[in-house]
């Protein structure tokens, strides 16, 4: 039932006056946000930022993002009113007489907005640009929608290749935004996890780039839905030289965040915590604040809008993230959770200094000003500050422990909300498949299983492109050989504590590097220490690493799928004789690295010492590989046999492959036989095979 208006329609003259005044405030606010955004963009990426709106407005073979199809939707509403057009005109030296060639009969993009950390205290030089491309879906065919997506993908790729900068375009339909339906724009699992939460984030953080101004930004704060509609209806009847209703677009109102949404929101943050735990704790704390204290304290977006007139240039006051930090901290104050308060303060400090890769803050920058204020208000000692300042030199273990502490706190908040939300349907607002995906994603990140390779810290992951590692082998306290990965300098090898990761097997260590994407194929980024009496030379170890990286990440991203709670195996890497001296070249051990559809990677080793002949050793090796492959999705799994021994022996590899082939064929025959027999009816029927498995033992 639509709400009834609380009062009569507002006077049109009053509406016009109010909107024009609020527009003035909003533009000044928007300028202040853009100024902050420009502060943190490195000079070499400025061109990229300036050119994006123009690339969406045009579809020219001379420009990135071009699609050779006349149906390709492009064009931004009111683009000629935006500063970005003026910039493009100057940069491309567009003559006055040529301007008409950029005038389009129809513009498909109603608005282009940046949302998230851009232009806030949360922005760093590495922050992605997340654009919302607002369209009216009814005006585009399915083909055109696909073409638009393709065009945007091309611009994203061009940005990555040319500037090394991550751009994300989220195409959002007008009507869907109004209904808080973001099912088409988000990552796997978050489809229905965030509705009004995402709208709140959008209204709190968006920067207007080009197109129509959201009505929300120019309407008075605190309107209920009926009043919101009423104002827009009145505004739509107005039209004169000063006021053009078509300058604005209705993206819907926001009065509250549904409590049922908060649990999904927190689950989503647990998923995201693997990438950036600090950011996730801040966001989770905000969601928890919404859940418990929204009624008393209201929405942040509304609070921000009320204060648009106060926004100043070069000031941390009224930064969207400053409000988020305030609410996140307040949560722990209100709950009287001392540990939480300490942790959230540390997270805010780190976030402001650029976590996960903190850097020196510019003198007098708003970030520095606000940090100074926080440190004073929190009565922090210089020891506490020094400790956080030295985050980059914490050992990997210390960083992981800190991340664990954060994850525990997020889990605590999750449980708290779950308990308070009550049963039986705490997730009533979320699609069941999304819930399953989120749960599986969380399990993939945090569940410990035998042989599972751990993920590295967010710091290392963020530094992966600039990461320089060295790998060495040393004796541990019991005299056993142990492989270790160190950050950058070989001298670190002397200090056991400085190792990023250690394991008795080389393949496990290399698997850890590949899993965490710390090697991208550049041989200069990894130094293999020459190890006396090692069975494997630096050159061979490097070759093995290359083979692993190619095998696991040849298609850039593995085909991850979190739908099933028992993830099938996707890839099996079999390494023959990696760690053992074998002067006679006999195969004595085999190491396996296997990856499932959740992206988890496992290591296991097979000892073949007790097996009497080569043929049987090959059989055992193949049998273990088949153990994984048979549980893979049909046609999707792949394996690779890699001979690490001093003298490569193609016969061994061939024999193992033949065994796997025969297992596969017998498995296939079995399937055919089953199909011929019709559906299975009894338990015994499941054991029937078209052809018996080769069993030599």
């Amino acid at each position: 039932m639509p709400e009834k208006p609380r009062h009569n329609k507002p006077d049109p003259a009053f509406v016009k006056e109010k909107i024009l005044l609020n527009r003035k405030y909003f533009i000044a606010y928007n300028i202040a946000r853009l100024r902050e955004l420009l502060r943190y963009i490195p000079e070499e990426k400025l061109d990229l930022f300036h050119s994006i709106p123009f690339l969406l407005h045009t579809n020219s073979p001379d420009l990135p993002g071009y699609l050779d199809d006349p149906l390709t939707p492009h064009g931004i509403y009111r683009f000629f009113h935006s500063g970005f057009w003026e910039f493009a005109k100057k940069r491309l030296r567009i003559k006055r007489e040529d301007v008409h060639t950029f005038v389009l009969k129809r513009s498909y993009i109603r608005g282009l907005y940046l949302m998230g950390s851009s232009g806030t205290l949360g922005q760093t030089e590495y922050s992605d640009f997340d654009y919302w491309v607002v369209i009216d879906k009814d005006s585009l065919s399915e083909t055109q929608l696909a073409l638009l997506r393709q065009k945007l993908d091309r611009i994203e790729d061009w940005s990555k290749e040319t500037y090394g900068h991550e751009l994300n375009f989220f195409v959002v339909d007008l009507e869907q935004i109004r209904q808080n339906d973001f099912s088409e724009i988000h990552e796997e699992g978050s489809r229905t996890a965030q509705k009004s939460l995402l709208k709140e984030e959008f209204y709190l953080t968006f920067i207007m780039i080009a197109g129509q101004i959201p009505f929300w930004a120019v309407l008075p704060p605190g309107l209920n839905d009926a009043e919101h509609r009423c104002w827009i209806e009145t505004a739509s009847l107005l039209s004169d030289d000063n006021f053009v209703c078509d300058d604005y677009v209705d993206l819907g109102n926001l009065t509250s965040i549904k409590r049922e949404e908060c649990l999904g929101g927190v689950l989503w943050q647990i998923c995201k915590a693997q990438q950036d735990p600090v950011k996730s704790l801040i966001k989770t704390s905000l969601v928890a604040h919404h859940f418990f204290f929204q009624e008393q304290e209201g929405l942040l977006s509304d609070m921000m809008k009320k204060r648009f007139p106060e926004r100043r240039l070069d000031s941390y006051l009224l930064d969207p993230y400053a409000l988020v930090f305030e609410k996140a901290t307040r949560l722990y104050d209100l709950m009287d959770d001392k540990d939480g308060l300490d942790l959230i303060r540390q997270c805010i400090y780190l976030r402001l200094t650029g976590y996960p890769v903190p850097s020196e803050l510019a003198e007098n920058s708003p970030k520095r000003q606000i940090l100074k204020r926080y440190v004073k208000a929190w009565s922090w000692s210089s020891d506490q500050i020094d400790r956080l300042q030295s985050y980059p030199v914490w050992t990997e273990n210390e960083k992981l422990q800190f991340e664990d502490r954060i994850i525990n706190k997020i889990s605590f908040l999750y449980k708290l909300i779950l308990r308070a939300a009550g049963k039986p349907e705490p997730f009533m607002d979320m699609a069941s498949e999304d819930l399953a995906v989120l749960k599986n994603r969380i399990a993939s990140h945090f569940k410990k299983k035998p042989g599972k390779l751990p993920l590295c810290s967010a710091y290392l992951r963020a530094k992966q492109d600039r990461c320089s590692l060295s790998i060495g082998c040393r004796d541990d306290s019991s005299g056993a050989k142990i492989w270790a990965v160190y950050d950058h300098t070989p001298s670190d090898c002397a200090d056991n504590k400085a190792a990023l990761f250690v394991a008795p097997e080389l393949l496990r260590v290399l698997g850890w590097i590949v899993l965490n994407r710390l090697y991208k194929g550049d041989p200069s980024s990894i130094v293999f220490q020459r190890v006396p009496k090692s069975p494997i030379s630096p050159k061979r170890a490097e070759r093995l690493l290359k083979a692993l990286a190619r095998f696991f990440f040849s298609n850039e991203m593995p085909r991850l799928n979190y739908m099933r709670s028992d993830p099938p195996w996707l890839k099996v890497f079999v390494s023959l004789g990696t760690d053992i001296f074998a002067p006679d070249n006999v195969l004595r051990s085999v190491d396996y690295l296997v990856q499932n559809t959740w992206g988890e990677m496992f290591f296991c080793a097979l000892d073949l010492e007790h097996i009497e002949n080569d043929f049987l050793r090959c059989y055992e090796t193949a049998k273990r590989a088949w153990h994984y492959l048979q549980k893979a999705l049909p046609g999707e799994s792949e394996y690779r046999i890699y001979d690490s021994r001093a003298i490569e022996d193609t016969t061994t590899t061939k024999t193992i492959e033949d065994f796997i082939k025969s297992f596969r064929e017998s498995g296939a025959e079995h399937l055919k036989a089953r199909e011929a027999q019709g559906p299975e009816k009894t338990a015994t029927g499941r054991n029937g095979r078209g052809r018996p498995l080769l069993d030599l033992l």
Binding site: A32, L38, H81, S82, G83, F87, M208, I213, L313
Partner: protein, 336 residues
């Protein structure tokens, strides 16, 4: 560090003196004794204490009962409360724990144990016993307040021999200023600022000492440093007072008008800020920073068009002015 106030409750006056002596030995001076729990409860309500040490067994009301009453009052939920006894039995320990005791102290009192307990508590509550140096400083300050300058000077000079301190140098400077020995005062203030580069009061006092010996340039320099420190630590009122003092010294000081403009802007007094900035421009028409600051005011006044002209001028005056270029760019891009 804050001084700690102890309330010691024991019907046994020997034990009461014993614990008082130990605490005194540990450097604590504010000790209040009571022979009964009811009197202690009355004292608690009229005076603020940082810690209570009460004997368990007392006639009329036991220490445990006092603890329960104390914990029942919201104001004293976190007040450190120790119970002392010569023989703690397991039921006593459980009772005390349930009632919210901070710790138990076994009689006879042991100095080391008391020291340890008090230190732990001080660490948690952020209080500690004053050190010898702190006590001397306090003594010096008392003499200073009583205008016994020579006596105070002796104490401070002795303290300096034991270790340099910005605060002590400042006090010496203060005494020398009172004695009109300005050069010596300047020297002492200089040492204070060398030890603590952000010691605004020392810069301020040094500026005034320079003023007294007729060195206005140096006075202005020191006062300006003090004003800058006050501004960066958001003590705007102190900064404003000093800036006005500098203006009395020399009205042609461009930075003073600029700083006063910044202070006005922070207070939201845009017109006042514009007035100061424009005065600064008259003295120094080529200063790009002032144009930038005026531009900021116009943005605050929601007038980006006028702001743009000032940022453009700032950039013309200083083509390498990165901030001006960024703001100008933001205005251009933000035009809707």
């Amino acid at each position: 560090m804050k001084k700690m106030a102890f309330l010691i409750v024991d019907d046994n006056s020997v034990a009461l003196r014993e614990i008082s002596d130990i605490l005194k030995y540990l450097g604590h001076k504010e000790l209040h004794g009571s022979n009964t729990a009811s009197e202690a409860w009355a004292m608690l309500r009229i005076k603020e204490f940082d810690c209570v040490i009460s004997a368990w067994d007392m006639p009329e009301m036991t220490g445990l009962a006092l603890l329960k009453i104390v914990r029942n009052d919201d104001r004293y939920v976190n007040l450190p409360f120790y119970l002392s006894d010569s023989a703690f039995t397991p039921p006593k320990v459980v009772d005390a724990g349930r009632s919210g005791v901070t710790g138990l102290i076994v009689k006879p009192y042991d100095t080391e144990i008391i020291k340890e307990k008090v230190a732990t508590m001080a660490e948690i509550t952020g209080m500690a016993a004053p050190t010898e140096a702190e006590m001397s400083l306090e003594e010096g300050m008392t003499l200073l307040e009583g205008q016994d300058y020579e006596g105070a000077l002796k104490v401070f000079e002795k303290l300096i021999e034991e270790g340099e301190s910005a605060e002590v140098y400042y006090n010496i400077g203060y005494i020398k200023t009172s004695q009109k020995k300005y050069q010596e005062a300047i020297e002492a203030f200089r040492k204070a600022t060398q030890l603590d580069r952000l010691f605004a009061k020392a810069y301020e006092a040094m500026g005034r000492a320079y003023k007294a010996v007729g060195q206005p340039k140096k006075a202005e320099e020191s006062l300006h440093k003090a004003a800058d420190i006050y501004m960066s630590s958001e003590k705007d009122e102190n900064a404003e007072e000093i800036l006005n003092e500098i203006l009395e010294l020399g009205p042609d000081t461009v930075n003073v008008y600029n700083s006063l403009g910044i202070l006005c802007r922070k207070k939201g007094d845009h017109q006042g800020a514009l007035k100061h900035y424009k005065k600064a421009l008259k003295i120094h028409p080529d200063e790009a920073n002032i144009y930038y600051n005026i531009g900021r005011i116009y943005i605050d006044l929601k007038n980006p068009q006028t702001a743009e002209t000032y940022f453009r001028t700032a950039l013309r005056k200083d083509p390498g002015f990165k901030e001006a270029r960024q703001v100008l760019n933001a205005i251009e891009l933000g035009t809707l």
